[in-house]
């Protein structure tokens, strides 16, 4: 295990950003950290990178507390939208700084990506557009070849083509140089394919951690006549409930039905459908399973 957290909490004044979080992250796997805005993703990653101090609980990266650990610093790179770099250095000089600091730095890769995305080596980092800055930060993150590589919302501002390139580059480099990668996003759809594990946060707490390939089977949707649906779901946790049409009900719930139960549901006229990973994550991470429609239905 590269990362281990035990009852980890983080408070900012009276705000609770992380609340009693216990999980671990597998070595040499790509883990996706997913959750709505404000779920605590960035706070968690900053604690792992040694930027922030924990308030309570235990956090270990490579077996050490990350805050002020040189071992963690030397083997970790943390890339996010606010990456701080000297305003005086050109982007080519920043790559040189990367070469100076990171033992596994691959300058050839850095140069090839630099050329592919047609960067002007003399440009200053602060003068890059939002999308270009994200792209440059990504180059830094990949070329460092850190044992623990953390990307926090890495594709902010990138256009669709560059996003695709980024995830392709990330996977290719990972296949050639397997390492522990944590990547956070609120767009699961984008990262789902390349993930091995998913850690889902909601309001500072762990909602779910499972293998990414299991996510599409984790839940199912049930649609049909309201009374019928209600009978079938009695006693089960419902992630999402939507009324529509003439007394029709659509629910999303844990896929724990046996084949016989499923057959019975179909025979009774209920529709059973797969729930996409993305939709499921939205349902799982929304507050109390509410949807936007609840704002408008005040009955």
């Amino acid at each position: 295990m590269v990362v281990e957290c035990q009852g980890l909490s983080k408070h900012f004044g009276r705000t609770v950003a992380l609340n009693n979080l216990t999980f671990s992250i597998k070595k040499n796997a790509i883990t996706g950290l997913v959750g709505a805005n404000g779920a605590g993703k960035t706070t968690l990653l900053k604690i792992l990178a040694g930027y922030l101090r924990k308030t309570a609980g235990e956090v270990r990266v490579f077996g050490e507390r990350p805050f002020n650990s040189l071992k963690v610093a030397a083997n970790t790179i943390f890339i996010d939208d606010n990456l701080a770099l000297p305003a005086t250095l050109s982007i080519a000089e920043i790559l040189e700084a990367g070469r100076l600091f990171y033992p596994g730095w691959d300058h050839g890769l850095a140069r090839r990506l630099f050329d592919y995305f047609s960067f002007n080596p003399r440009q200053l980092h602060k003068n890059l557009s939002k999308g270009k800055r994200s792209t440059f930060n990504m180059i830094l993150g990949l070329s460092a070849r850190s044992v623990l590589t953390i990307f926090d919302e890495p594709t902010v501002g990138m256009d669709a083509a560059v996003r695709k390139d980024f995830y392709r580059a990330l996977l290719q480099d990972y296949l050639q140089h397997p390492r522990t990668i944590i990547i956070s996003s609120h767009l699961l759809k984008e990262i789902e394919d390349i993930l091995e594990e998913i850690l889902l946060l909601r309001e500072g707490q762990k909602r779910l951690q499972l293998s990414a390939s299991a996510l599409r089977e984790y839940a199912l949707g049930l649609r049909g006549e309201e009374a019928l649906v209600k009978r079938f779901i009695a006693g089960r946790e419902v992630y999402r409930r939507e009324h529509f049409g003439k007394n029709s009900l659509f629910v999303v719930l844990r896929n724990s039905f046996s084949a016989a139960e499923r057959h019975k549901a179909r025979a009774a006229g209920l529709e059973i459908m797969a729930v996409s990973a993305e939709d499921l994550c939205v349902y799982l991470t929304s507050k109390g399973g509410r949807g936007i429609d609840d704002v408008f239905n005040r009955n």
Binding site: L171, L175, D193, I194, E196, A212, R216, V275
Partner: protein, 129 residues
Amino acid sequence: MVIFATDHGKPIYLQLAEWLEKEILSGNIAADERIYSQYQLAEMFNINPATAARGLNILVDEEILYKKRGLGMFLSPGAVAMIKKRRRKQNLERLVRELVEEARLLNISRAELGELIRGAHRGEKGEKQ
């Protein structure tokens, strides 16, 4: 990821297993030939290698593939027959069941349904000519 356009929402490793079966059925891989590694598949389909491994392992569990320690996975000699047999049981029989149910809902007689199937066969042959 969607390997087949109709597979939206289906687990990737299942899609991958089906794609591999299709490759095997179409004769692209000979008996006892080495099949793609999880890393090759990961690169081909832009998916995590662990997901690719899960797809491969389905075929290993069904003995369509066999493992050689340190060498990779190879196609079992009886693979094509096994896939055909299972697909017939799983896919074809399910589809027929659904077809019959739908026909019943639409009040289509057995004779009419048989005619539709024969028509579909003819249409397919017609396209081939």
